[in-house]
């Protein structure tokens, strides 16, 4: 069957929605077993339907594939417009995989209001997939915003002690960023139709098509591009989250139920970085070539890497620790993206996937012991290796993948990013590399405190090792981590074309040559950012 003949993306997007509606109307809330089974089935079907995309996707083609387009609000020029490129493809697949795992891992963790819970998880999945499929900016904004609602409730109803605070903080932070992005969208719209305020002259038909607006926006005057870049920046940077907009993340992650944390880490944070890749870079090339803008972005990314890692070191709560480690890892992604060369952008995109896999798995692992002991404090544990050998093994693999050990996925991503950063500026790479060292420190220390030594806390003496179901939730992620670590080429193949397009759009070099010659010996990273950006371009 030819996948481009059917609206495959809409099918993938709305299967969970249909499933959620079926849950609402067909299943009485007492029949929890049936509800769980059905929700899992829906997610599994969604995954099964999404997998063929991987093979059907034409890696050699530029532009978007599986495009669906229909008029939605003609008065505004809004279309229902779906389509994917390689970047969206890998993120959609990650979403369907993680979505299934999130549902499957909640069987025993969620005991209250189960029907609502699975309905919300399925809704969330529809909105997340929709966001990655959108080729219309207005539609994108709709999905982007509506996604917040189920997550708010997942944190607020099934979260930990401070769930109310965490839920509203998450919602307000992200919303505040999004509405500024909305203004950016309005500005783009007007620039397209009539020329922007003082800059008259254009006059296209109203449109929100991302491809069209990208072409139009790229021709805007530089000053205006900088303004719009920052309007979008707030929307994306809060979601990533970049330092100093990261403070909602530890709260949301810590308080969310396990599945919520997994989805938050694996998918929702990627929305921000995806936004930078899909919109900020190609739309505002003048702005991102501006040395000050790049300098600011890289400085924030590097601060995020180092500061995030240092804060991670001192955490006492496992989930909080992993949450802060996300700040650090996402800093790497941002560094790669704003290196704006092939290695950097590809590494950044790959690291988005890697972070989803590793951090998602870490949250799953914390969830396992949290379910047994109902505490996340590291001090409560110790010596688990003897009692839970299987658990210790999984944890070790995942922790190593997260810290970037060769043969595992994290290494490939971080290495490529550092390669890209290095080509731009030695000091960027240098500062980021310290983050890797700190990363090894906090993860190994965490591992040591939880697993090594004698069991000192009697409550841990009878802990049960991983069940088959728990292993089944973890195994796919571990397999993916090994696969990407050993043979990342298939993923690079998929994301090469779109990355090239982005790098070309911002005027960077698409050659992957290591650029030792461009090494600069400027005294400080911030200053270096300003002086070397010009030199780094051909």
């Amino acid at each position: 069957m030819n996948l481009s003949q059917i609206p495959i993306l809409s099918i993938i997007t709305y299967i969970p929605l249909v499933g959620a509606l079926a849950l609402v109307f067909l299943f009485p809330k007492e029949r929890t077993g049936a509800i769980k089974a059905f929700a899992t089935l829906v997610a599994a079907v969604d995954l099964a339907v999404s997998l063929p995309l991987w093979w059907a996707f034409d890696r050699a083609r530029d532009g978007y594939q599986f495009v669906e387009k229909a008029s939605w609000i003609p008065s505004l020029g809004v279309h229902y417009h779906f389509g994917i490129d390689g970047i969206s493809l890998v993120l959609i697949l990650l979403t369907t995989i993680v979505g299934l795992i999130a549902i499957y891992c909640s069987y025993s963790a969620i005991t209250e209001r189960q029907k609502e819970y699975y309905v919300l998880l399925l809704l969330l999945q529809t909105f997340m997939i929709g966001t990655f499929c959108c080729l219309d900016l207005f539609l994108f904004y709709v999905f982007w915003e509506v996604m917040l609602v189920p997550m708010y409730f997942l944190i607020g109803v099934w979260g930990g002690q401070r769930r109310l605070y965490a839920a509203i903080k998450f919602f307000l932070y992200t919303l505040a960023g999004s509405v500024l992005m909305l203004l950016g969208i309005i500005a783009l719209y007007f620039y397209n139709t009539s020329g922007f305020l003082a800059y008259k002259g254009l006059g296209n038909a109203p449109s929100f098509s991302i491809e069209h607006l990208t072409a139009v926006a790229a021709g805007m005057p530089g000053e205006l591009q900088v303004w719009l870049f920052f309007a979008f920046f707030f929307g994306f940077a809060i979601k990533v989250p970049m330092f100093p907009f990261h403070t909602w993340l530890p709260d949301a992650h810590t308080e969310a139920p396990t599945a919520g944390s997994v989805i938050l880490a694996a998918i929702l944070l990627k929305m921000g970085t995806y936004g930078f890749v899909r919109f900020s870079l190609p739309m505002f090339p003048e702005a991102v070539r501006n040395p000050r803008v790049v300098g600011t972005m890289v400085a924030l990314a590097v601060i995020g890497i180092v500061y995030g890692a240092m804060v991670t070191l001192v955490q006492k709560d496992m989930k909080r620790l992993i949450a802060y480690s996300s700040v650090s890892h996402l800093g790497f992604v941002m560094l790669g993206i704003f290196a704006m060369n092939m290695a950097g952008v590809q590494g950044g995109i790959l690291q988005m996937i890697n972070h989803g896999i590793s951090t998602g798995a870490l949250f799953l692992l914390v969830g396992v012991v949290y379910e047994r002991r109902h505490t996340r404090l590291i001090a409560e544990y110790g010596g688990l290796a003897k009692q839970m050998p299987l658990y210790a093994t999984y944890f070790l693999i995942v922790a190593l993948s997260s810290m970037g050990l060769p043969l595992l996925n994290g290494f490939i991503g971080e290495f490529t990013i550092l390669q890209g950063a290095f080509a731009r500026n030695f000091w960027w790479a240098f500062a980021a590399a310290t983050g890797i060292v700190l990363g090894a420190a906090y993860l190994l220390w965490l591992y040591q405190r939880i697993f090594f030594g004698e069991i000192t806390n009697p409550a841990n003496a009878k802990l049960q090792d991983l069940t088959l179901r728990e292993q089944l939730t973890l195994a796919p992620l571990v397999i993916l981590a090994l696969w990407i670590g050993l043979y990342p080429k298939p993923i690079f193949d998929v994301i090469r074309r779109p990355s090239e397009k982005i790098v070309q759009a911002v005027g960077g070099t698409t050659l992957e040559a290591p650029a030792m010659a461009q090494r600069s010996a400027a005294p400080a990273p911030a200053a270096a950012a300003e002086t070397t950006t010009v030199a780094a371009r051909p």
Partner: protein, 483 residues
């Protein structure tokens, strides 16, 4: 000026005339019925509003409605028709939402419905008003009926207080408005809006005229509860019977927007730079104060009162978009969306009222998700819409308003508006949090068919405009003044 009264002029005012007659009939019946057969009266009121709507549809088809009627006092253009339809719609919702409330109150219901209809007649005339005096008289008819409605629970101190406050401040603002009208008349010697525009087009700016325009603006801003003329709103909204509050937050406001837009667009376009500046400042102050004050409220009605103040501030953004294709269009879109979502939210408050009269707190919503999931989900839709999140009517409406402000060059206002709209989420979601996260009384939520119908209509409207806005947008575009 020639006063040509034609018989067909009266035909074009059929809905108004019919509703007046229906109101008088109600009054008569009320004397006969006393406290009995109130449901029948409610049915009769709904029926007469329905007939009036039918008459309105008939009027809409008449080809002779393009010219001003009754010596230029009224005009039945598309703009007026839209507002009349919206007013009749909110009137019908109010009657349906009132039935249980009025039934449980120890006061006769006939006069309640009659006053509601009279107030409706006033608003219908406002929507058509094309002359300073006809507008003023219509406004007063609406306002006087409203004062009495606010005090309908006459033995309740809060209701009486609301009525008194509303009356005193309302009368004062009417005085200000009238003073403004008289100054404009004194300068120009004209009452008709189009004639004024014609005269002013070649006139110089004079201080007296400016003062008159400013006073008219102040009087109208009072009616839409914009800062600094908003102080009556929370008290009146809290003290009035909840269906009346719901009505106040929608009907009279919508009608006031109609005359605000008509007076300033038709009569005073020349001085747009002057009044535009004032409206921009008022809009900014209204959005900030409404949203910030709402953060502190624990009474739902006061919270929604401040929220409606904030909403008045947003809608003013559209009024600013003068003579851009977006300006008035965005006001119409927003008012339509606002009617659905705001009335819906208030109807939920009516549904959950646990302490009979005016004791509504956010905690009434506690645990609603467990007690009645559909009600909680529907309320969530209204809250999302009020906060301006997609895919709801509120988002489309706000999108249009922000666009209008941007297009009119008020970028700073658009920035302020989106930030304030993010702030508003905090207080709207306090209600959401109460519904979904808190434990509440296990008491059953009792609804009636009428209330369920109101809520269903509002919810469907809110979602329909959000998901498939195109048909609404097209119709509204044809209702903009001067098309």
């Amino acid at each position: 000026m020639t006063f040509a009264f034609r018989a067909s002029d009266w035909m074009l005012l059929a809905p108004e005339l019919f509703l007046t007659a229906a109101g008088l009939l109600m009054l008569g019946l009320a004397v006969a019925f006393g406290k009995a057969k109130e449901d029948f009266l409610a049915f009769l009121a709904t029926l007469s509003i329905g007939v009036a709507a039918g008459l309105l549809a008939f009027v809409a088809t008449r080809p002779d409605r393009s010219a001003a009627i009754l010596g230029g006092a009224f005009v039945v253009d598309n703009f007026a028709l839209f507002f009349k339809a919206l007013i009749l719609f909110s009137l019908a919702l109010t009657v349906l939402a009132s039935a249980r409330y009025v039934g449980s109150a120890p006061y006769p219901g006939g006069e309640y419905y009659a006053l509601l209809l009279f107030s409706g007649v006033g608003m219908l005339f406002m929507a058509s008003g094309n002359n300073l005096i006809s507008i003023y008289v219509a406004l007063e008819l609406m306002a006087l009926s409203s004062y009495v409605l606010a005090g309908y629970f006459k033995a309740e101190p809060k209701s009486t207080e609301a009525a008194l406050k509303y009356f005193i401040l309302g009368a004062f603002s009417s005085g200000v408005l009238l003073y403004g009208l008289s100054l404009v008349y004194g300068v120009s010697g004209l009452m008709g809006l189009p004639e004024l525009a014609k005269l002013l087009a070649s006139a110089q700016r004079s201080n007296l005229l400016m003062l008159g325009i400013l006073l008219i603006l102040a009087g109208l801003l009072f009616k839409i509860a914009a800062v600094p003329f908003h102080v009556w709103t929370p008290d009146v909204y809290e003290g009035s019977p909840t269906p009346v509050t719901a009505f106040f937050s929608v009907g009279p406001k919508v009608a006031a927007y109609a005359i605000l837009a008509r007076i300033f667009y038709v009569a005073f376009p020349k001085f747009q730079a002057d009044w535009g500046f004032v409206i921009a400042l008022v809009s900014a102050a209204t959005m900030v104060l409404g949203n910030v004050a709402a953060l502190l409220q624990s009474n739902v009605k006061r919270l929604l009162a401040y929220s409606s103040i904030a909403n008045a501030g947003y809608a003013l953004l559209g009024v600013l978009g003068f003579r851009t294709e977006w300006g008035l269009w965005s006001v119409l879109v927003y008012l339509l969306a606002y009617t659905f979502m705001n009335f819906g939210a208030f109807t939920l408050v009516i549904l959950l009222e646990s302490r009979g009269y005016a004791g509504e707190s956010v905690s009434d919503f506690n645990g609603l998700a467990r007690r009645n999931m559909p009600a909680a989900v529907v309320m969530l839709v209204f809250l999302l819409s009020l906060a301006g999140l997609p895919p709801t009517a509120g988002f489309i409406g706000k999108y249009y308003l922000f666009t209008a402000a941007w297009k009119a060059g008020y970028v700073w206002l658009a920035v302020l508006a989106v930030l304030m709209s993010a702030v508003s989420l905090f207080y709207y979601f306090r209600i959401a949090a109460a519904m979904f996260f808190s434990e509440g009384s296990p008491a059953e939520v009792k609804s009636s068919y009428a209330l369920t119908a109101v809520i269903a209509v509002c919810a469907v409207g809110t979602l329909a405009i959000g998901v498939a806005p195109q048909p609404f947008l097209e119709v509204l575009k044809s209702c903009v003044l001067g098309r």
